[in-house]
Amino acid sequence: MITNAPGWSEVRRTFFDWGQFKASMPEIARAFLLNVKIFLIAEVFILVFALLIAVMRSLPGPAFFPLRAIAIVYADFFRGVPTILVIAVLGFGAPGLQLQSVPLSTTFWGIVSLVLVYTAYVSEVYRAGIESVHPSQEAAARSLGLNRWQSLRFVVLPQAVRRVVPPLLNDFIGLQKDTALVGVLGSVEAFKQSQIDTAATFNYTPYLAAAVLFVALTIPLARFTDWLIARDRRRRQTARVA
């Protein structure tokens, strides 16, 4: 049906040109290494900072109100602002200050922006996990003589984090795709490289080449996430039976 549609030969020439695909792939693949570097570095910081924000937000009592407020304002702000805007503001704005201690690297500022935005999302995922642990768990831990920190560290968090591994991986996939936004700063990552190739030839196959690279990475991760969810469900069901 598709191949008989009017204009298909034109579509094949501009989107599925195998010669163009082969010609542009090596350079796009090299540029894709920058995307990989960005999301690997960013993910490490995101997982740590987001947990910190989530714990700050779940602290009880009026004494911790300022910390809770900071965490809430942070998450609200960075979930509300478009990622590309944060990248443009920091990537062009911060080096524009011309302060000696401020790094100029666009990749550095791209990573910082992604960490800021995704920490906000991921902190909400952690918080959902923490709140899903029944209060009796903490009560039991405290009655055994663990202090508040110990019960959080050894009882609540291990259960909370295990439950939210699938949504964490979901956000990780989102992060992988959003690395393409760093290109607005002038860094040549996979999408930017495909734009360069496309601008030179008006053939859109290089975009497809970049898409293939992203998908090749995210699909195995998505299947892995599915498998984790299935395994988790299996374990909980067998536990209930026992």
């Binding site: 598709i2 549609a5 009017p6 204009g7 298909w8 034109e10 579509v11 501009t14 989107f15 062009f92 080096p95 524009g96 011309q98 100029l104 690297s105 666009t106 607005v184 700063l185 002038g186 860094s187 040549v188 930017k192 734009q195 360069i196 601008a199 030179a200 030839t201 008006f202 497809l208 898409a211 998908v215 699909i219 299947r223």
Partner: protein
């Protein structure tokens, strides 16, 4: 098979979307070829009858455009007919029978101005260099300006001492996406560091200001504006020598548009009467004086 599933759907979706676009652009292209060949005002193949629709990018910068900015235009005001390209467009319009107030100026981003497909403008004037690849998908008028590329850097940086193209090799250079300036970097300068590529020239200028790039490659008249108004303490390090056929700017029209011939006729008249040279002398006189890189 489960692994292939989502990918197959993606490809199918892309194909469907593309088939739709391909079909519509094909039919509109065939419409333009049947238009009349006469260059009388009434016979011109126009996007909107009664007015000449001219496109350029926003902000429109001097020395290409002039006048006090009025919304939506920033920095300058193309409908004023001032600046080199403003004056050339107005002069061509006059030859076609359109007074300044019969022209409609619209904003067209640089990258999309010479992309394939139907156009919202009659012609687009935006420092667009002729290249064979671009000429396959849009019509170009004949040259209204022969242009040299140049490199701009900060006076305080080591790049300011460069006197030849080879001297530029070790530096981080930048240019706008899809420009002949970018092509010049990768094909002629061949720097040792991967050049930075920006969606707009404004972003590239910002990066130069921030010292995120050492040198910005732009066409020479733009370099004068960058150094004079946009980046303090910057200088034109040099213009690149003309090699082979000189690069030139042309107005961009929809592929196969019968109006192209009329615009070419108008330009030829402006050239032979000396009016084009006068306009160039008035707005781009300074562009002759930059040092040439060996």
């Amino acid at each position: 098979m489960a692994r292939l599933g989502p990918f197959a759907i993606l490809v199918a979706l892309l194909a469907f979307l593309a088939a739709g676009c391909g079909g519509s652009s094909g039919s509109s292209a065939s419409g333009t070829t049947t238009a009349a060949a006469s260059c009388d005002k009434g016979d011109l193949n126009l996007v909107k009858s009664g007015t000449l629709t001219v496109g350029t990018d926003n902000p429109a910068y001097p020395p290409w455009f002039g006048g006090d900015p009025k919304s939506p235009w920033k920095v300058s005001y193309p409908p004023s007919g001032e600046g080199f390209e403003g004056a050339v467009a107005t002069a061509v319009a006059k030859k076609l029978g359109f007074a300044k107030n019969e022209m409609t100026w619209i904003v067209v981003p640089f990258n999309t101005s010479f992309a394939p497909g139907p156009k919202k403008f009659d012609f687009n004037i935006n420092e667009i260099s002729y290249t064979p690849a671009r000429a396959k998908v849009v019509d170009f008028s004949s040259s209204y300006y022969d242009v040299n590329q140049s490199v701009v850097g900060l006076k305080s940086q080591p790049i300011a001492k460069a006197t030849s193209t080879a001297d530029l090799k070790p530096y981080k250079l930048g240019a706008q996406l899809g420009t002949t300036s970018y092509d010049y970097i990768v094909k002629t300068i061949k720097p040792s560091q991967k050049p930075a590529v920006f969606d707009t020239n404004d972003a590239a200028v910002q990066a130069l200001k921030n010292k995120q790039i050492d040198g910005l490659v732009v066409d020479l008249p733009t370099a004068f504006y960058v150094t004079a108004a946009q980046v303090p303490n910057s200088a034109i390090i040099g213009q690149f020598p003309t090699s082979g056929t000189p690069e030139h700017f042309g107005m961009v029209l929809q592929k196969g548009n019968s109006l192209t011939k009329c615009v070419d006729d108008a330009l030829a008249q402006l050239r032979s009467s000396g009016q084009l040279a006068q306009i160039q002398q008035k707005w781009l006189a300074k562009a002759a004086g930059a040092p040439v890189l060996k």
